[in-house]
């Protein structure tokens, strides 16, 4: 009896240690909670959106892969379409101060206006805390969270890992596919892909 209790404790300790070491969320895991300040000054908590689909979009305005999706209007179209379907769209800015893509709140607001971007909110993450929670590697990496708070997609925005604007047309958009399939009650067929793009400009 004592032995099995001890053994259980060891197992529990080891299981606790594993997430501490790896930390980042994967597809199938509960989406890690976070609280962040949006560029509009509001405080955004992921938990507030339980019951809704949430899209996370890693952003860096100087990255040519991000530029491909904004200059073609693709990202704005996706934001408009999915937010009109009740999806919460959070653009996340994880560039550290002094690095490419770092912006102040007002710079981000100007950018959103200029680009006619319509995310639910743009979250300032200069410490990279949210980025590391989700192990975001690139911009534009995309994550989809279901109403139960589970990560159902993490990876590339589509299947054309290039900077060419013309590649937007005809690409399979993994974010839309995941949302469509999940909303239809089907399993997400492509739940994880290599998130192409520029590396996230973390502080390290």
């Amino acid at each position: 009896m004592r032995r099995s209790t001890l053994y259980r404790m060891i197992v529990v300790l080891m299981l606790c240690a594993v997430p501490l070491l790896i930390a980042a969320a994967k597809v199938g895991d509960d989406a890690p909670e976070f609280t962040a300040t949006a560029s509009n000054g509001k405080t955004v908590r992921l938990a507030d959106y339980r019951g809704k689909y949430v899209v996370l979009e890693w952003h860096n305005n100087g990255c040519p892969y991000v530029g491909k999706h904004y200059n073609s209007g693709n990202m704005q179209r996706l934001q408009k379409h999915w937010t009109s379907q009740g999806v919460v769209w959070l653009t996340i800015l994880s560039s550290a101060p002094g690095k490419q893509g770092y912006v102040t709140a007002s710079e981000e607001n100007d950018y959103l206006t200029k680009e006619q971007a319509v995310p639910t909110a743009a979250l300032l993450d200069p410490t990279g805390e949210i980025g590391h929670l989700y192990d975001a590697k690139t911009s534009p990496q995309m994550v989809v969270i279901n109403p139960q708070g589970v990560v159902i997609y993490s990876g590339a925005i589509d299947d054309k890992p290039t900077t060419d604007l013309q590649d937007v047309q005809g690409a399979t958009n993994y974010v839309s596919l995941a949302l469509e399939q999940a909303m239809a009650g089907k399993p997400v067929q492509t739940p994880a892909t290599r998130p192409y793009g520029c590396s996230v400009k973390y502080r390290d």
Partner: protein
């Protein structure tokens, strides 16, 4: 300085230079600017012999600190892509990639090249290719050049080579570049090596019996989304070799049949390996195997049995 000299000499002897380019030193082409570097299409030989294979090179020269990417770029970035424009009867084979370097930070790791690197491309000319003519070879290259940030570039390269029936003569100008590029290519793993890869749940355990002890080794996965690029590769000595524990990529949701890539030994060059992935003993519910050489043992000693026996991919 080099640039100015080049421009001066060209302006002085433009006509001669053009003639020389085409007929004497056939494998010559101008370096084309790309972001933070230049790119040149070169040939190993002075002319193409109909019916024989030869090699072309894409020679990148990058400013200090800037890099381009390997065929598997790692966590971010993108390898150079080439669209060839070839005359009828001429074809190119698969690009040969030198052993890459690990680049990046602690959380994001890329694979690529800094400074000077040449990618070798095999080229074949059909026997029926008309000799006494000139073959115009074009290459439209898309390349991402990165340092802290990334800049996509394009270059339209061209090279004119005479086609002859006699065996080709190496181009003295490019000989050193090809020699260096070949030296940088991974060589086939020696036949005496025994390399195996076991699936240990959230890791691949690569065991290499190479008949000697080395201090360190590193594996570069050829395919994307198999190995977690930024994870430390755990090195351990085993009798007659070493073992590397490679964390699986989060994007890997299905079992893989083979692990392909380049194994770099400390102080040595890279070796190409292509090894079938076998199910680990741990998968069958066994653990604590007494056979210390079996990769399953690694999984068993570092994780409680309940974790080892659990399904590897729930989704």
């Amino acid at each position: 300085m080099r640039r100015r000299y080049a421009r001066l000499s060209f302006s002085r002897v433009a006509v001669f230079a053009a003639a020389l380019l085409l007929y004497t030193a056939g494998a010559r082409a101008e370096g084309t600017p790309i972001p933070h570097g230049t790119l040149e299409l070169v040939a190993e030989n002075q002319w193409i012999e109909a019916g024989r294979a030869t090699h072309l090179g894409l020679r990148f020269q990058l400013e200090k600190g800037w890099h381009i990417y390997w065929v598997n770029p790692g966590d971010s970035g993108e390898p150079p892509r080439v669209k060839w424009q070839l005359p009828a009867g001429v074809s190119v084979g698969e690009m040969e990639w030198p052993t890459p370097r690990r680049l990046g930070t602690s959380s994001i790791v890329d694979f690529g090249y800094e400074d000077d690197v040449m990618l070798i491309v095999p080229m074949h000319a059909e026997t029926a290719l008309a000799t006494q003519g000139l073959a115009q070879i074009g290459a439209a290259v898309k390349v991402l050049v990165c340092r802290e940030m990334c800049i996509p570039g394009t270059a339209q390269l061209s090279l004119t080579l005479p086609v002859k029936s006699q065996p080709p003569v190496p181009d003295a100008r490019t000989a050193d570049w090809f020699a260096a590029a070949r030296k940088a290519l991974p060589r086939p793993a020696p036949a005496s090596w025994r390399v195996s890869v076991a699936d240990a749940g959230d890791s691949f355990v690569l065991t290499a019996k190479i008949g000697q002890h080395i201090a360190q080794a590193n594996f570069f996965p050829r395919e994307e989304s198999q190995v977690k690029d930024a994870a430390a590769q755990q090195f351990a000595k085993v009798p007659g070799g070493f073992r590397l524990t490679l964390r699986k990529s989060d994007q890997l949701l299905k079992p893989v049949a083979r692990l392909k890539g380049v194994l770099v030994l400390a102080g040595d060059r890279g070796y190409a390996i292509d090894v079938p992935v076998t199910a680990s003993k741990a998968d069958a519910g066994e653990y604590g195997s007494s056979d210390g050489d079996r990769p399953a043992f690694v999984a068993a000693v570092f994780r409680p049995p309940s974790v080892v026996a659990a399904p590897q991919m729930a989704h």
